[in-house]
Structures are given as structure tokens and as C-alpha cells.
């Protein structure tokens, strides 16, 4: 049966609902860049976007039990983020919320993300990553693009490229490794 990201998210969400912080941490790291990007486009402030994205995931953690899966997880998270941003914009009495000790691990995760923020908010960095992807070996570029841009499953890529599914998985991973290497070398100063 064809799997998709929503299925895996559902498994992670169920585990997180049962108190599995590791599962929640995966969801945070997976969606944090997109939440941050959405908030930055709203606030145009790095500091406020950091603060609001942290608050978003705190709220997501607190309200996770109420998530019934009627919409995609990211849609739900996005709505929380944008509501917080709207309140932030409209409220003169906006104050930073203290991070509760029970979810301190979130603070660590968010701080580890700081060096990626500059990539997200600078269009030129995204364009450069795109340019790098074009230069990758054909087999890696095809597998990666089919997955990330066209949203094809590993099964579909395997069928189209007439390649074993294990090879597809490996090519996508290798493409990602080489993009990370490029990002660290060319776009992140301190690594």
C-alpha cells in the first residue's frame, strides 16, 4: 500500500500524544523551518519569528490531544502559528512567554536551527540551493526532484526509473547528503 508523509505523521502524533517526546521532536524538526518561514513572511522579523515559532510548538504540544487528524498536521500547526502571529501583531501588550520546564527540550531544538534561518529568509540562498541541485549527478537529481518537487512515492520513482526501490531510497538520501554538504560549505558561516 502506498505510504505518505501524513501516515508517518499520524504514527508520530499518536506516539507524541502518549508522551513520546522523541516522536514530537521529529515533528518539530520536520516542520519548524516551514513554520518559521510562514511567520517570517508575516512578521518580517527574525527575532519575532523565532519567538513565535517556539510558542507555536509549545502550543502544539499542549494542544496535541485535541488534534483529531481532520486536516493535515502542518495545516493545523500553520493555523496555530498564524493565529499567534495575528495576536502578536494586534496586541500592544504582547509579552514573551516563558518556556515551561516540562518542554525545555524544545528550546534546544530551536536554537540548533538558528543557522538555517538565514537560508530560509534569503531568497538568494534558496536559489543557490536550487542551482546546486541542477548540477548534481543525473540519477540523484532525478530521484530527489521526483520526490520533493513532484511528490512521487518511492514505488512510483522505482517504476518510472526502472530502478530497485532500495536504490531509489539510497539515491534520495545521497542527494540530500550532498545538498547538506553544499549548504554547510557555502551557505552556513560557522560550520
Amino acid at each position: 500500500m502506498k505510504k505518505n508523509s501524513d501516515d508517518i505523521d499520524s504514527v508520530l502524533i499518536e506516539k507524541a500524544k502518549n508522551g513520546n517526546e522523541g516522536a514530537f521532536s521529529i515533528l518539530v524538526n520536520k516542520y519548524h523551518p516551514r513554520v518559521y518561514a510562514s511567520l517570517f513572511s508575516f512578521t518580517k522579523s527574525k527575532e519575532d519569528s523565532e519567538d513565535l515559532s517556539q510558542q507555536t510548538f509549545i502550543k502544539v504540544w499542549q494542544q496535541l490531544s485535541s488534534f483529531r487528524g481532520e486536516s493535515a498536521f502542518f495545516t493545523w500547526v500553520y493555523r496555530i502559528a498564524i493565529n499567534l502571529a495575528k495576536n502578536y501583531v494586534s496586541s500592544a501588550a504582547y509579552k514573551k512567554q516563558k518556556i515551561s520546564s516540562s518542554i525545555e527540550f524544545l528550546e534546544l531544538d530551536v536554537s540548533s536551527f538558528e543557522d538555517l534561518e538565514s537560508i530560509i529568509i534569503h531568497d538568494q540562498s534558496l536559489i543557490e540551493i536550487n542551482d546546486f541541485i541542477i548540477t548534481m549527478p543525473e540519477s540523484l537529481k532525478t530521484a530527489f526532484t521526483m520526490r520533493e518537487v513532484e511528490g512521487k512515492s518511492y514505488d512510483e520513482i522505482s517504476e518510472i526509473t526502472k530502478t530497485p526501490i532500495g536504490t531509489v531510497r539510497s539515491r534520495i538520501f545521497r542527494a540530500r547528503e550532498s545538498i547538506i554538504e553544499y549548504m554547510k560549505k557555502e551557505l552556513i558561516d560557522n560550520e
Binding site: K3, N4, S5, D6, I8, D9, V11, L12, K15, N20, E21, G22, A23, S25, I26, N29, K30, Y31, H32, P33, R34, A37, S41, S71, A72, F74, T75, Y78, R79, L108, D109, S112, F113, L116, I119, I120, D123, L126, I127, I129, N130, I133, T145, R147, E148, V149, E150, G151, K152, S153, Y154, R169, S170, I172, F173, R176, E177, I179, I180, M183
Partner: protein
């Protein structure tokens, strides 16, 4: 597991391609390793970069067809505007009544939309609409999971298997969904998303047609009309 095996599994997890039986072990590993956690964020950022052109949301703003002439996207070409106007008139003549406002019913409608029930319905519809638009933008498989077997050759559009089972004609290509969903639209609504357009068209039979791609308003309406017969 060696480093490469872990990496491959993490990459597969990001894509939703990991077997459920493999998840627990990976959660354990990721929760203890900040580098693995960070890799997930890297994956997400490179996904944003790979989709940068199409996901560069400049502004998502709902517009109704009556405002088409305020849309800069169209205003550069008088001929395009003229053809759209003609299409609008043509469609209205062909019982696209859901796009019109009946002035005789205006007072009745005004009192109805102020009722609590109507407000609840409107709120719920708005949420459905938000979900729908967010899925179009964020889930590449959403637009290829429905209605791929609709034949549009009668209006000149052939299916394009390479472009994710969309339809194409000349420079225009798009994907569509046709489904029994009521967003309580009474007119075509459309949004600009990067270099693509999203159109939601209420059909006569209560279904909603969604079109997404490099497609003009006049094409969207032509396609809608061909399905609305």
C-alpha cells in the same frame, strides 16, 4: 545500524516511506542525537528550496471575478481582458447562475447571513477552504490524487503524464480536482501562488472544481464550462 543506514532511514522517514516497524528504533536514535534532529530541518529547508519557484508565496489573496480588472496579472493585456469578459458573459448566459447575485433576494439573503446558524456554516466553510488551499500548496500529491481520468480533449487539453498527470495545451499546464465539497462559494475564487494560480469553481451540481497550475482565468472558466454541462 551504521551511519548510512541510519541516514537512509531518516531520509525515508521524512518522506513518509519508513515502515511502521522501523519507526520506534529511529525515534530512539533521533531523540538522543541532535545532529540527526538537525538533519530533518535541513531536509525541510532543501525541500523548500527545491520548490522555491512554485512555493514562493508572494501574497495569497482571495479575489472574486467581478474584480478581475484590478488584477495586475491580467491588466497588461487588453485582449486577454476582453476575452475574459466575453467568457464571463458567455458563461453567465449558460446558466452559471451561482456566479450572479440576485438583487431581488438581497434583503432575504442579508437577514439569512446574519443568523447564528449561517455564521457557523460560514465559519466552518472558511476553515474547510483554508485546509483545501493549504493542501494544494503543501501536499504535492493532493492535486494528483483525484479526477485524473477526466477527459478534456473536447476543449483541447491532453493529459500530461510527465507533469504529474496534469493537463496541458501550449504553455499552459494544470492539475484539477473535482469533488463533492461545498465551500459555500457563489462565485469563482482564485489565488496567485508563486507563478501558479489556484481556481475554485462552484459547479451547478454542488461539486467544486479546483484547478492549479500555469493557467489563465479564461482557461479555467473554459474548463469549468466543459465540465458543467
Amino acid at each position: 545500524m551504521n551511519e548510512i543506514e541510519i541516514g537512509e532511514k531518516l531520509s525515508a522517514l521524512h518522506d513518509g516511506e519508513l515502515e511502521s516497524s522501523e519507526i520506534d528504533e529511529l525515534i530512539d536514535l533521533v531523540s538522543k542525537d541532535t545532529q540527526l534532529q538537525k538533519k530533518l530541518s535541513f531536509y525541510s529547508v532543501m525541500g523548500m528550496a527545491a520548490n522555491y519557484e512554485s512555493n514562493n508565496v508572494v501574497k495569497i489573496k482571495s479575489k472574486k471575478t467581478k474584480n478581475i480588472f484590478s488584477n495586475l496579472w491580467l491588466s497588461n493585456a487588453m485582449t486577454a481582458a476582453a476575452s475574459i469578459l466575453l467568457t464571463l458573459i458567455f458563461l453567465n448566459d449558460n446558466d452559471f447562475s451561482r456566479m450572479n447575485v440576485d438583487s431581488k433576494s438581497f434583503d432575504q439573503i442579508t437577514s439569512a447571513i446574519n443568523s447564528k446558524e449561517a455564521k457557523n456554516i460560514a465559519k466552518q466553510s472558511e476553515e474547510y477552504l483554508t485546509d483545501h488551499i493549504m493542501r494544494i500548496i503543501n501536499d504535492p500529491s493532493f492535486m494528483i490524487s483525484n479526477s485524473n481520468n477526466i477527459d478534456l480533449r473536447n476543449v483541447g487539453y491532453k493529459t500530461n503524464a510527465i507533469q504529474g498527470l496534469g493537463y496541458s495545451k501550449g504553455d499552459e499546464n494544470f492539475q484539477l480536482r473535482l469533488e463533492k465539497k461545498d465551500f459555500t462559494l457563489n462565485s469563482i475564487k482564485y489565488w496567485k501562488h508563486g507563478n501558479k494560480m489556484i481556481y475554485l469553481v462552484p459547479m451547478k451540481d454542488g461539486r467544486t472544481l479546483t484547478l492549479y497550475g500555469n493557467i489563465s482565468l479564461s482557461t479555467a472558466m473554459t474548463v469549468a464550462k466543459s465540465l458543467n454541462l
